[in-house]
Structures are given as C-alpha cells and as structure tokens.
C-alpha cells in the first residue's frame, strides 16, 4: 500500500477537496475545506517522504501543517470575524456548480495531457499527481475568476500556492528546507496582506462584491 499509488490517491483527494473549497457556499465552510485540503497535502508530503526516503519532506510536512492547516485558515477566519457585518461575504459564484465541476474535470484532463510530455526520472511514477499539481494552478485561477466575493478569491490564490508546493515536492524532493521555508513565508505574507485589504475594503466601501468594485474600466 505504501508506494506511489498512495501518492496518486492522495492527489485525487486533493482535487476533490479543492472542488469543495471552490463550491462551498459560505466563507467559513470554504476555510474549513481549505484546512482539510491542506491536511491532505501534508499527508501527501509524508507519503512522498516515506516513498522517496527524503527526510527534508518530513520537515516540509511539519512546516506545511503549521502554516497551511493552522495559520492560513486561522488568518482567514479571523478576517471573517473582523469584517463581521460591514459587508456581505457570502456571494454565490458566477458559474453554476455543474459547470464548475465540468471545468475542473476538463482542466485536470488537459494538464494530464500536458504533463505526459515531461520526462524527469523523479516524475515517472507520479505523473498523475504532477498533473494534479499543475491542475491546481488552473483550479485556483478558475476560483479567482468565477468568485464574486473578493474574500473567496483569496482561496484561489491559496490553491495555486498549494499546487506549486506539491509540484516542488514531486519534482525535487531533496531540495533544502530553506527553499520551502522561503516560499511558505512569502505565501503567508501574501495571505495576510490580502486579508488586510479585504478588511479595509469592507470597512470603507461596505461591499465585497467584485462586480461593485469594477468602476475603473478600460
């Protein structure tokens, strides 16, 4: 059981949880699904570490647990509390659930086709998961584009970051921890600043609707 197929199974669970993040109705539920998705990510790192025998990956999974499972959802839930009643956070996305799911399926498929051309020794057995990592990019981008509430657009960015982390872990498991720490720290700062911006916008304009915040045109 403990071989690359476990990694692939966890990769598929990543897709399912990402879809849940995108489709969730309220911001709170999205944050909880994101914590779940990050937990699957940590499990993926552990599995990959066990399979490739790389001790750095265990350290990565620890730091990923601290930042992605605890810190980022914590920051986002805190932001929800700070925004409070000043603006309506939970707006429905612009695309119906079926089209979202269909789009995600298409993206995963296209990424798989793109990835089958890559020829790296470390990547041979885990090609499906590499496709999943690449697909996360586009799923995150989809989330940013279709969400009407700018609070939920933050999740799109977080999904893209998760995709890059998984890609790095798959392609270069022996990388020094400093690389991972650097990327993770930057991601945390980005989330903090996005959250601060959301608070300010909610306080000043009393709306978090991206359509309302589109006065500047052309």
């Amino acid at each position: 059981m403990l071989d690359f197929s476990l990694v692939n199974v966890l990769g598929a669970c990543l897709i399912i949880t990402s879809m849940a993040v995108v489709l969730a109705r309220t911001g709170r539920v999205s944050a909880q699904f994101y914590a779940l998705q990050s937990a699957v990510l940590v499990a993926l790192f552990v599995a990959l570490g066990a399979v490739t025998g790389s001790t750095e990956l265990y350290l990565w999974s620890a730091s990923a647990f601290a930042t992605k499972v605890l810190l980022v959802p914590g920051i986002l839930l805190f932001t929800l509390r700070k925004v409070g009643d000043s603006a309506d956070v939970d707006l429905p996305p612009k695309l119906s659930p079926m089209k979202c799911v269909g789009l995600v399926a298409v993206e995963v498929f296209v990424c798989f086709v793109a990835v089958s051309g890559i020829d790296l020794p470390t990547a041979a057995a885990v090609k499906p998961t590499l496709a999943v990592a690449l697909a996360h990019f586009f799923i995150g981008l989809t989330c940013i584009v279709i969400q009407r509430s700018i609070f939920k657009q933050i999740f799109g960015y977080c999904l893209m970051e998760n995709g890059s982390h998984v890609a790095l872990a798959l392609l270069a498991p022996q990388a020094p921890e400093l690389v991972e720490v650097g990327i993770a720290t930057d991601a945390i700062f980005a989330v903090i600043i996005l959250a601060v911006m959301v608070c300010r916008i909610a306080r000043t304009t009393h709306t978090l609707d991206a359509d309302d915040l589109a006065e500047l045109k052309g």
């Binding site: 598929a12 089209k99 799911v101 798989f112």
Partner: protein, 309 residues
Amino acid sequence: MIELTVAVIQVLLLVLLAPLASGVTRKVRAKMHTRQGTSIFQDYYDLAKLWRRCEVQPGGAGLVSRAMPPIFLGTMVIIAAGLPLIARACPVPLLGDVITVLYLMALPRFMFSLAALDSAGSYTAVGGVRELLLGVLVEPALILTLMVLALACGSTNLGVMADSVASLAAYPPVAVVVAGVAFACACYVEMGKLPFDVAEAEQELQEGPLAEFSGPSLAMLKLGMSVKQLVVASLFVAVFLPFGAASVATPLGLAAGLVLFVAKLAFVMLAAAVIENAVMRVRYQYLGRYTWFVFGLAALSFVFLVIGI
C-alpha cells in the same frame, strides 16, 4: 440449480419486502413530523384490499394501459433476479449485464409515460411527461458511472464488477470511489424520492398517472413502484457496496450474504428516507441543475479513470 434458487429467493425477497420498505419510510416521515403515522404493514393491507376491488378504466384507455402494470412489475422482477445481491456473481448471467439492466430499467419508465398519455387525462399526461424528463436527465449520469466502473473492473457483467470491488481489485481506486458517489446521487434521483418525485407529485398533480388506475392494476403498479425503489437501491448496494456477499456458493455463505444484504439495504433505505423528509420538492424546471451536477461528478470520475488516478 443453486443459482436458480438464489434468483428466486432474491425476487421473493424484494417483492415481499417492498411494501414493508415503503411502510417503514412512511413511519419515519411521520416520526420526523412528530406524528404517530400508520402501521408499517399498512401497504400490505392496502394491496390486499385493492386486489379484491374491481377494475375501472377510463373510456379511451387501450391495450397500453391494461398492459403497463404487469409489464412494470414484471420488468422489475426480472431485474431483481439478475442482480448479484447475495452472492458476488449473477444468478442469471444473461440478465447480469450492465447494458441489459439499463435497458430493462428504461422499459418500465417508457411504458409508464405511454400509459399516462394513453388515458388522455390532463394531470396524468403532465405526470408522464415529467417522468420522461427525469429519465432523460438522469440516464447519462447512470450510464457514465456504470461505464467507468466497467472500465475499472474490466467487464460489463455486474457479478464480475461486484467481485472486483469487493476484493479491492478495481483500479484506479479514486475513480471508483468518485463514480460510487455520483452513482449514489443518480440512484437517489432515479428512485423518485423527494425532492425528485416530479411524476406523482401528490400535491401538484393529484398522484399523476396513478389516478387513472384502480383495483388489481393499481395494486400491481404500487407494488411495482415500491419494488423499483428497492431494485435501484439494491443495484447501488450490489455494485458499490458488495462487501459481505458470498464469494462461494455454500449455504452458510449464502445465508450470511442474505443477512448482510438485507442489513445494507435497510441502511441505505433508511438514509434515503431521512434525506427525503428533510427537503421539499424541486421545481421541475430546476431539475436540470441537480442532474447536471451529478453528471459533472460522473465526468470527473471518468477523468480520474483516464489519467489513472
């Protein structure tokens, strides 16, 4: 020989349990509405009473209306005979093919709608049309999920599929799981429980097509519809939850398989009953949203299958 016995047992089981299942569902609804509710055996008494009554048919009704109830019940019985419920193999291999089952499930729906139109009543016609609509919307998801499972297990025979899933040999695993979830949703829609009971729609359509039947025909139809619900649930249990079914045809194994099957079926029907009583009927124009979402899930499982995850 033993397969024939198993088939007969399966048929008798489902036909005899069907009124009990609908009775229990009604009791659960009553309890959830904090009412007392009727006895769980009420449907048996109803069927016996209806059987004794004489039959009245609307003026313009023809052969189709007379033939429909027996065909409905008969088809459901035939499907029940072919499913791998108790054992991990189909009692009647001829009937155990996925494509055969899908066609057999489409036949009663078609006859039902045809009979609804045949009686030339306005409410019945609307009910018949909605039944067809539901069929059109839910069939793609059903077909796609069963196709995914067939590809994952390497055969279209339901018995082989059940065996494959039970021994965890179905590859790739996540595709099978997602297909299972999609199939569960599609089966719930197919069962015609709230929020998808658009054909009968008691408050809207005055029982729809059922209004034009009486006496033994109505008894057969009601029994057939209850059996259909059980058959659809059994299909899901047989293919995606085959754990515990007998792998070899020993009497002890078959007995154990029977008990476990009844337990699994009861669990599934109970879950369906709870969900049914927590929601209200969906407007039939919005039916498409739910069914397309289920189809999206099925498509996702197909993508997982293709990429080998």
